[in-house]
Symmetry: C3
Subunit: 346 residues, 3 copies
């Protein structure tokens, strides 16, 4: 994809917008953002990771956003900031072509219930459906084919991409970003055993998303059984994540792709779950817990820190031998203890 | 979400509807269902788990549904049943606001093929698509944006929530509930290697879902290669589950979130698969097998019981040391055996 | 599902179309394709796996496609080919009912931007949305409810099933097959930490899919942060797969269901990832790597071969004992080494 767009900025304007100090010709214009290696003379780039420092001398970029310590090594104009990675984040927003395309208004093919209330400058895409009693804050964007169920409330500045489903009775805060294919407020998984059959438990709770929540493509957050499923402020959820009913996630957590969290588990603030991590139900994780990729957590965690499970990958031939021994592990441990006793008793 | 709805019920009516014995004032009205802790004087609650017994004396609920053994400890009106969890399930259905909103009819923006046959009181939401030859039983509900492919048959009383996709030639039984984003009948994953390239195998089979099947948000059940993928009666499937082509699942199974089942595997009746469980292809699991969360099953299971794999989570520091040793496990076992022999030979 | 369709073929025609040698009556007609066991006298079947050889003598099929070595054992007409599994793939395409149903044209409820360019014989289903600047090649099919975002390009002969989402600025090659619920080009997961909060990094890259790529139901391929996420030619991706930003997948790879690949990882050509496999970010896998189901790969792999991690499933009782010992494994290894030293020092 060509990142260039109609918009071009002077370096001076960029420095002002991202809050950086400019060293060089402020009137030079750039029209794209690229990596140190890929940037051409119309692009701005950034250096946020020392591993890429070696590429700095040879960059063809018009300007580089970097830490003041590296300004002297920069062969071209530079914008300095103490946290150049945050600077990159701000730069990226400037060059995002999506924002420029937004045009408020309701597409004629959208179906909007009369009882729905729309804030100012709301944008509803083609084939979208807004059901009864929905309230959309100012500047909310609902993408093509997305459905917002009865009585749901979405805070100002939130964006639903295409084919998003938000079920009935969900509350979404401000500036949420919901990616295509995600489902907020589907039923939690609740059944009572009744003479060999399952009896469905209607899921009467809702889902509450705080402000600044992002939910990735094809992720699902189930509604609560009685109380609500609650996602705190500034929680970032990647693609293909499953969050079960009545889960609570504290502010500023980040959940990588394919994470699954079972019912009623509470995750503290500032936690980070690696890709494919599974949390069993009814657990509590304290603030500041990190779990590495594909680990399974079956007990509550009361100390901040990094947690892991599983085994690393190895060749299948090596693995087969070791995996067989895993099944004998308790026996191995007991035999070892016996040997030690015999040794000591001599 | 506020669970209260326009509907209020007298305790007498509730007792009759859920089949409980009422102790107290049957004319008292309740308008909501909540937990022992959260219930207010307009609510009914329930006690189904001894762990919550401690909250019973202090509940503010108008009434409590519970086991007769606990009736004496109840500070307010009570409804007694031998299985209060089933009672809760029945209560929950009474207070489900969704049912009250259903209004039969075909929305003017829905596209329904002339050759489709619709039963009585069918409801087709806005932007839905019903293709050629589809047959919908009485009271079937197709939510907004959902698509039902050619020649598919859906039994009476089934509900497709918003943005569901049922592909062509699928057969769905009665009272199914399909949640948003799920896909029934996408192609199975079949290719023949042909001189370094993949040659697609058209997936000519279908999917058959029995009666009373529920499929969670964003789950997928692939169509068979030649024969069908078959899901039995009363099978409950959570969100983000993947069921590959020609899998067969017996009656009354429950599959938690993120389960993945590879092609042609047969799961018996009354099995329960924990979250994230993976079953390899071409296996057979007998009736009554339970597999705990995130376990991988690579061999058939012929005995009912509980099965597991993997390792529990620990601190990353501890895990790193142990995971390294896992790679040496076969060597460790051999060294131990050697030591034992030496010991014995003295 | 009944595989039979209006089309019937003579054996002679079939032999010609799949490139097989016919032994028997070429004028006989068959109208369906089924397994050796299920095929009736109107069906053709195939034998591609020796395990099914025992069913050959008793098949009721009108004809069997098989290896020349087995022709003598065939009780009916046969079509011989050196690779009968590829023959089956070709047969399956003949009997695919979908192709017969395709009728070019734009459904009146579809919303197609004026600036979009459509090739010859394009088919756009009901409720689909084609945004500004989209270019669709000849014979592209966009299923009901699918959305194609601004400036996206889709090569000739590609098919999007129902409710597919392709976001803006994506490039898809020829003959792609995208299954329902999949999302191509949702945002990658990128945030900069900024004083305890997450600052979104706009995902300015795109996604490039080569020719002959297939993506399963509910799978997601995220767009790149700056450069593109790149999927090679003839890459086959199953259902519920997550591919993060800036991943690169080489030609002819096959990824089974529920695979998750973290950001910037490069997978070589002809790799096969089993169901539920996880690859950490920023890795490189060389050509010809196979990873078995549910393995986690956290380091680059530089040798072709088969790799695995995890433990096999066992009874939960047995597992509990062994899993506890896993946490003691480093200690066990050290104790063993100490014992060995003591032994040797005697």
């Amino acid at each position: 994809m060509n990142n260039a767009n109609a918009h071009a900025f002077t370096l001076e304007e960029i420095a002002r917008r991202v809050g950086a100090r400019l060293v060089g010709d402020g009137s030079r214009r750039v029209s794209g953002l690229a990596t140190l290696n890929d940037a051409g003379p119309e692009d701005i780039t950034f250096l946020a990771n020392r591993a890429y420092l070696k590429f700095l001398p040879d960059t063809s970029a018009a300007a580089v956003l970097l830490h003041p310590n590296h300004a002297d090594d920069c062969p071209t104009a530079c914008l300095t900031m103490d946290n150049p990675y945050v600077g990159y984040a701000k730069l990226s927003a400037l060059f995002d072509p999506l924002a420029a395309r937004d045009v408020p208004g309701v597409h004629p093919t959208a179906v909007v219930a009369e009882s729905a209330s729309l804030g100012r400058d709301v944008q509803i895409g083609p084939q979208a459906v807004i059901e009864d009693g929905v309230r959309l804050g100012d500047r909310v964007i609902v993408g093509p084919g997305s459905v917002v169920g009865c009585d749901t409330e979405i805070g100002e500045g939130s964006r639903l991409h295409a084919n998003v489903t938000v079920c009935h009775g969900v509350v979404i805060g401000r500036r949420a970003i919901l990616h295509s294919g995600c489902v907020i407020g589907g039923d939690g998984f609740g059944f009572a055993h009744d003479g060999g059959r399952w009896h469905k438990i209607a899921q009467l709770g809702g889902v509450i998303l705080g402000d600044d929540v992002e939910v990735g493509s094809c992720s699902s957050i189930d509604r609560g059984a009685l109380g609500d499923t609650i996602i705190g402020n500034d929680v970032k959820i990647d693609s293909q994540v499953q969050i079960a009913h009545n889960v609570q996630i504290g502010d500023h957590c980040a959940l990588a792709g394919c994470v699954g969290i079972a019912g009623s588990t509470k995750v503290g603030r500032n936690c980070m779950l690696g890709g494919g991590v599974g949390l069993s139900g009814h657990l509590t994780l304290c603030d500041g817990v990190q779990v590495t990729g594909m680990s399974l957590v079956t007990n509550s965690i009361h100390q901040p820190g990094v947690y892991s499970s599983g085994t690393g990958a190895m060749s299948n031939a090596q693995w087969r031998k070791n995996a067989v021994r895993f099944k004998q592990l308790d026996d191995i441990a007991k035999r070892l203890t016996r040997l030690e006793k015999e040794q000591r008793s001599r």
